[in-house]
C-alpha cells in the first residue's frame, strides 16, 4: 500500500480528509469546516436529488437501486461459527440495504431519531449491580461505554436543534434528562397509531409520539413532510427528511472550507513513517489519487469502517490500521429486528401512505425499564406501531393459518389487505467472543477487494429477548383488537445485520477497544473512527441519533486540536 500511494496522483494537502459523507461524516464535515479547517469529504456514491427518488417499492425496497454504485456488490458473507465456510446466501435474506450517495444511510433511513437511555451506557455494571454477577453470559464481551449519557446529552441536543428533529420532550417518561425540547412538534398522528396508543394506555404502558428526523413543518429552508408513503428505503421526494445532504453538508460547503468529492472510492488509509495516518488513497474516474491530510476521519458504515482498516496494512500495522491489538472487527453486534403483524378483521386501518416515524412508540420494555429478574436476558427494545405499508410487503406477510398461495391466500388478501397492523422492535443484542467481522478469504467485490465476513449466531439471551418481546407485542396487538398475530419474518440463526454495531468499539482500554472516548484510535492519534461501529453495546433503539451525537463531539474535539 505504501508503494501504491506513492505512485498515485498526489493532491494538495487538507487539514482533514473525511471518508464517507453520511450520518456521521456530514455532521463532522460541518463542525470541522465551520471551525475554519480545510476539509475534503470523500463519498463513494453520487450527489442525489429529490428527482432520483421514485415512488417505486420494487426499485427501492427489493432491488435497492441506490446501492448499485457500490454496496450491492460487496454484501458480506456469513457463517454461524469459525469452523464453517461463509456463504453469501444468508438463508435467502439480504444482509443489509445500505446505499451510496451524499447523505449515506440518512438518504433512505426511516428517520426514527431516539437518544439512548442512560442505562445503555452502563449496561454491564448496571445489570450486574441489579441482577448479580451472572447477569451477562460468560462469553459476552459487553462493556460499559467510556462515557455516560450526561456527557453525550449536549450533543444529542445540538443534533436535534441542527437537523430539526421532531418530537415532544418528556412525552417518554423513560427518556434521560434533556436540556431543551425538540425544535419541531411530532409528526401527525394517524388512526392506526392512535388505536395502539389507546390499547397501550389500557395496559398501563406509556405510549408517545416517536421522535423523527423528518420535518413536521418547514424548517431552515426545508419543507415539511407530505406523508407520501415511500419514505423508508427511499430518499425524500420533497426534501423533507433530515438527510445530511440536505442540511449539514450544504451548510459546510457554504463556508467554503469543505470540498466534496463524490464518486470517490477509498482503497486504503496509508500511514507515514512515524505510523500516523497520512491521508486517503482513492479511485475516482479510473484514476488513483492520494489525498494527504493532517487527520483522517473514517465515517463509513460499520462494514466499510472495518474493511478499510483491515485493508490498510503497512509495516507499522501489518494486520490493518489501528489493529496491532487485534481488536478491529471484534465485538460486532446486530439488532435482532422484530416485525410483528396482526389482522383486525373488518377494520380499514389505512396504513398505506405516511411514514414509519409517525409511529406510536413505547419504551416500557426497553433498557432496564422493567424487572428482568428470572427472564434470562438484559435490555429490550423500543416498540413502535408504524404507518407506511407498501403493497409487495403487504402481500408477502400473511398469517401461518392461511395458505401462502392460491385461491385461499388471495381471498385472505382481498378480505384483509387493508386490515393488517404492524409493530416493529429493534431488539438489542450483546457482543460475544465468537461474533466478529473480518475479511473473507475467498469472496471479492467486482474491484477484486475482499468483502467483509460475518461470523455470528443467535445466542440464548438474544433468543429469549426476542421471544419475550414478540409475546408482549402480540399481547398489545390483541388488546388493540387483533384477531391473530404473526411474525412477518422468522428468527433466523444469524441476525440480519441490517443495523450493525461494534467492530471498532470505544473504550478506555487499548487492549479491548479500537478507539478511545473521543473516537480517536488508540494506536493512531490522528485517526478518528465514528459510527455505529463505535458502539460498545447495540441498545434497543435505531442508532442514528447517537452516531451523530458522537460525530459532533469527536469533530469538535478534533477541531480544537487542529485549529
Amino acid at each position: 500500500m505504501q508503494a501504491e500511494h506513492e505512485e498515485a496522483e498526489r493532491l494538495d494537502p487538507a487539514d482533514v480528509v473525511i471518508v464517507g459523507l453520511g450520518a456521521a461524516g456530514g455532521i463532522a464535515a460541518a463542525r470541522l469546516a465551520e471551525a475554519g479547517l480545510r476539509v475534503v469529504g470523500l463519498e463513494a456514491g453520487p450527489r442525489l436529488t429529490s428527482r432520483d427518488f421514485a415512488f417505486d417499492e420494487l426499485e427501492t425496497d427489493f432491488r435497492n437501486r441506490l446501492g448499485d454504485v457500490k454496496v450491492n456488490d460487496e454484501v458480506p458473507t456469513w457463517r454461524p461459527d469459525r469452523h464453517m465456510e461463509a456463504t453469501t446466501s444468508h438463508a435467502g435474506r439480504t444482509v443489509s440495504l445500505m446505499v451510496n450517495g451524499l447523505g449515506g444511510g440518512t438518504i433512505h433511513y426511516a428517520g426514527q431519531h431516539f437518544r439512548l437511555a442512560p442505562w445503555h451506557f452502563e449496561l454491564r455494571s448496571a445489570s450486574e449491580r441489579r441482577y448479580g454477577a451472572g447477569a451477562l453470559p460468560a462469553d459476552s464481551t459487553a462493556s460499559d461505554w467510556p462515557i455516560g449519557y450526561e456527557e453525550l446529552e449536549p450533543y444529542y441536543d445540538a443534533v436535534e436543534q441542527e437537523l430539526g428533529v421532531c418530537g415532544r420532550g418528556g412525552a417518554n417518561p423513560f427518556e434521560g434528562p434533556r436540556r431543551a425540547d425538540y425544535p419541531l412538534e411530532p409528526l401527525r398522528r394517524t388512526g392506526w397509531t392512535e388505536l395502539i396508543a389507546a390499547a397501550a394506555l389500557r395496559r398501563g404502558l406509556h405510549p408517545f409520539a416517536g421522535p423523527a428526523a423528518i420535518l413536521s413543518r418547514p424548517f431552515r429552508g426545508q419543507p415539511g413532510c407530505t406523508y407520501c408513503g415511500f419514505c423508508n428505503f427511499n430518499g425524500c421526494h420533497a426534501d423533507a427528511k433530515a438527510s445530511t445532504y440536505l442540511n449539514v453538508i450544504p451548510r459546510a460547503e457554504a463556508t467554503g472550507n469543505l470540498e466534496v468529492v463524490a464518486g470517490a472510492r477509498v482503497l486504503s488509509l496509508p500511514v507515514n513513517r512515524d505510523g500516523q495516518a497520512a491521508g486517503a488513497l482513492y479511485l475516482s474516474g479510473g484514476r488513483t489519487r492520494f489525498q494527504p491530510a493532517r487527520a483522517v476521519v473514517l465515517t463509513a458504515h460499520t462494514f466499510e469502517n472495518t474493511r478499510l482498516l483491515l485493508l490498510s496494512r503497512s509495516r507499522a500495522f501489518p494486520n490493518g490500521l489501528a489493529n496491532n491489538a487485534g481488536q478491529v472487527g471484534r465485538n460486532a453486534m446486530s439488532h435482532v429486528f422484530i416485525v410483528l403483524d396482526g389482522v383486525f378483521p373488518g377494520r380499514k386501518l389505512n396504513r398505506f401512505g405516511g411514514t414509519w416515524p409517525q409511529c406510536t412508540s413505547l419504551d416500557d420494555l426497553n433498557a432496564d425499564n422493567f424487572d428482568h429478574t428470572g427472564l434470562g436476558f438484559v435490555g429490550g427494545a423500543v416498540i413502535s406501531a408504524v404507518q407506511e405499508a407498501k403493497p409487495i410487503a403487504t402481500a408477502l406477510s400473511t398469517p401461518a393459518s392461511v395458505p401462502r398461495w392460491g385461491g385461499a391466500w388471495k381471498a385472505w388478501l382481498a378480505a384483509h389487505g387493508n386490515s393488517v397492523g404492524r409493530l416493529i422492535a429493534p431488539a438489542e443484542s450483546l457482543p460475544y467472543e465468537d461474533t466478529f467481522l473480518d475479511l473473507d478469504p475467498r469472496v471479492v467485490d467486482r474491484a477484486g477487494v475482499p468483502v467483509v465476513r460475518i461470523t455470528s449466531r443467535i445466542h440464548e439471551q438474544e433468543e429469549r429477548r426476542h421471544d419475550f418481546l414478540v409475546s408482549a407485542m402480540s399481547s398489545l396487538l390483541l388488546e388493540a383488537g387483533a384477531a391473530e398475530t404473526w411474525l412477518a419474518r422468522p428468527l433466523l440463526p444469524a441476525a440480519p445485520f441490517q443495523s450493525t454495531f461494534g467492530a471498532t468499539r470505544m473504550g478506555d482500554d487499548p487492549a479491548a477497544s479500537v478507539v478511545d472516548r473521543w473516537c480517536v484510535a488508540h494506536e493512531v492519534p490522528n485517526l478518528v473512527v465514528v459510527g455505529a461501529s463505535s458502539f460498545p453495546t447495540s441498545a434497543g433503539y435505531p442508532p442514528t441519533a447517537t452516531i451523530q451525537a458522537l460525530a459532533w463531539r469527536a469533530a469538535e474535539r478534533l477541531a480544537g486540536s487542529l485549529v
Binding site: 415512488f55 417505486d56 417499492e57 420494487l58 427489493f62 432491488r63 435467502g92 401527525r188 394517524t190 388512526g191 392506526w192 388505536l195 407530505t226 406523508y227 407520501c228 408513503g229 415511500f230 421526494h237 420533497a238 377494520r347 380499514k348 386501518l349 389505512n350 398505506f352 401512505g353 405516511g354 409517525q358 404507518q387 407498501k390 403493497p391 409487495i392 403487504t394 402481500a395 408477502l396 401462502r404 398461495w405 392460491g406 385461491g407 388471495k410 381471498a411 388478501l413 382481498a414 389487505g417 387493508n418
Partner: protein, 163 residues
Amino acid sequence: MDGSASLTETEADTLAAVLARLIPSDEHGPGAAEAQVLAFIERALASDLSASRALYAQNLTALATWAAAEHGAPFARLDAAAQDALLARLEDGSAPGFSPAADVFFELVRLHAIEGMFADPRHGGNRRHAGWDLIGFPGPKVVFTAADQALDVEVTAVRPDAG
C-alpha cells in the same frame, strides 16, 4: 420493452401455468394471468434478475420432466387439482430433481410472482392495478391527508396509468 427472449416457449408455458395457480383468477378478481405477471418475470430475467435465468430454465425443465413422470402430461396441461398437488410438493421441498432444492425454487417463484402482481405497473406486471385493487392499496400519492389516515374510511385510489 420486450423481455420475451428470456425463456423458451415451453418454459414460459410451464411458468404461466405455475403462476396461474399461485395467483388464480377467481371471484376475488384478476389473477397472475390478467396482471401479466409472466411478462414481469420475463422482463426481470432479461435484466435485474438475469442471474436467476439459468435457475428458472433448469427448474422449469425439471418440473416438466417430473409432471410427465407423475401424470404423463406437461404441467401446463394438468387440471388445477393435479397442478396444486405438485406445487405443494415443491413448496415442502419433497419434489425430486430440482436445483438446489424444490422449495428454494418455489420460494423464488413465489417472491417474483408477488413482486409482479403488486409492483408498480411500470415494471410490466400488475396490469390495470389488479394487485393494488386486490389489497386496497390506494396507489402512489404525493400527499396523504389526515383523513386518508383515519380508521375505517374509504381512501380515494389514484390510478395514474390505468392502461
